[in-house]
């Protein structure tokens, strides 16, 4: 029996889809059987970020409505042994599926895959409820900006009210030079405010744009700093105790962070 993880944020454009693609590819690279579900119905994107847009035949709604079998809708990523994508429908909207149907689907996929990653749409409406319905765990993505942190706080509140979800935080697009001069909240600030467990810190990285252009997740790029951050998140998800180090060059800051967090344990 696998585990289902939803990647969510409240605010749009903070890196949910990028994160889903990279963690998915990272887990598959590390030998796990992985399925990605694009739950952003109507605003399909995970397919292009993964470079699989030309291979879509059926989608999530087709499966839920019984029009297609799951195995026919899943796109196998040829670059990885065990990575599959269930694309969102592009011409439908969030109401085309219900939270109960999503839960059912995710449950059945957990029987076949080690990890089922669900890319959530922005917002706190039905699209969000659909995305979290079948998840055992949630990763909340936030950037170090007031609007993003505020929305993350709201989402964390909703997830915790649900109790079965224990959200972990991914801080995305952090810029060491801005942190250094006091113009961007640092990791300590974000954890202090949001009071949840940290599972990864992804720096702002041009390689993300380049990799999205090419449809090749940055985890595949050994030289990308964001890719390295996603590789570390992958290892933490698998239960490894990976210290939070060397994501940024500032040594003073990092010794402080290490002391505060003491490592993530699955």
């Amino acid at each position: 029996m696998g585990v289902a993880i939803v990647i969510t944020s409240g605010k749009g454009g903070v890196g949910k889809t990028t994160t889903t693609a990279n963690i998915g590819a990272g887990l598959a690279q590390a030998g796990s059987k992985v399925a990605l579900i694009d739950a952003d119905i109507g605003l399909r994107n995970l397919d292009v970020v993964m470079g699989l847009e030309n291979r879509i035949v059926y989608d999530l709604v087709d499966v839920v409505e019984g029009f297609a079998k799951l195995k026919h809708a899943l796109i196998k990523d040829k670059r990885f042994e065990n990575l599959h994508l269930l694309p969102a429908a592009q011409t439908r909207d969030k109401t085309a599926v219900s939270p109960e149907q999503m839960k059912h689907l995710v449950e059945s996929m957990k029987e076949e895959f080690d990890y089922v990653l669900i890319d959530s749409p922005a917002g706190i409406e039905q699209g969000f409820r659909n995305a979290v319905a079948g998840a055992d765990k949630a990763l909340v993505v936030a950037t170090p900006e007031v609007s993003s942190v505020r929305d993350a706080d709201r989402i964390i509140g909703l997830l915790e009210a649900n109790e079965k979800h224990k959200p972990s935080l991914i801080i995305n697009r952090i810029r060491p030079s801005m942190v250094k001069r006091g113009d961007m909240m640092d990791i300590d600030d974000m954890i202090e405010i949001l009071a949840i467990e940290l599972i990864g810190v992804v720096p702002e990285d041009e390689a993300i744009v380049v990799s999205t252009n090419r449809g090749e997740p940055a985890v595949m790029n050994a030289n990308s700093r964001a890719g390295e951050a996603y590789r570390q998140i992958t290892r933490r998800l698998k239960g490894e105790d990976v210290p939070f180090a060397k994501i940024e060059e500032e040594s003073g800051l990092f010794s402080r962070i290490r002391r505060m967090i003491g490592g993530f344990k699955g």
Binding site: V146, V149, R150, G157, R181, G182, D183, D189, I193
Partner: protein, 88 residues
């Protein structure tokens, strides 16, 4: 450069500290699910109760959250016009 200069001489907070402070306050409202509307209602209720005992300046009446060190407080500023004469 001027930014840095101002900061070194303590005339301007680092913008991340401003961000943190603003977030702290806004999250109190969000977490308490006290909308600006609800806060307005609270204010009116409070004003009605206090008006039973004191004559207050309704325009100067202020209620808001404020942070003191590590704790949050609901702070009211209630200008008093006059104490009502006891009828009994």
């Amino acid at each position: 450069m001027f930014d840095l200069f101002a900061r070194v001489f303590g005339r301007e907070d680092a913008s991340k500290d401003v961000a943190k402070e603003r977030l702290r306050l806004v999250l109190v409202h969000d977490r308490a699910s006290l909308s600006p509307q609800a806060l307005e209602e609270l204010k009116n209720d409070l004003m009605n109760v206090i008006s039973k005992y004191l004559e207050i300046d309704q325009d100067g009446f202020q209620v808001d959250f404020s942070r003191h060190e590590e704790t949050m407080a609901l702070v009211a500023n209630i200008p008093v016009r006059s104490v009502k004469r006891r009828t009994l």
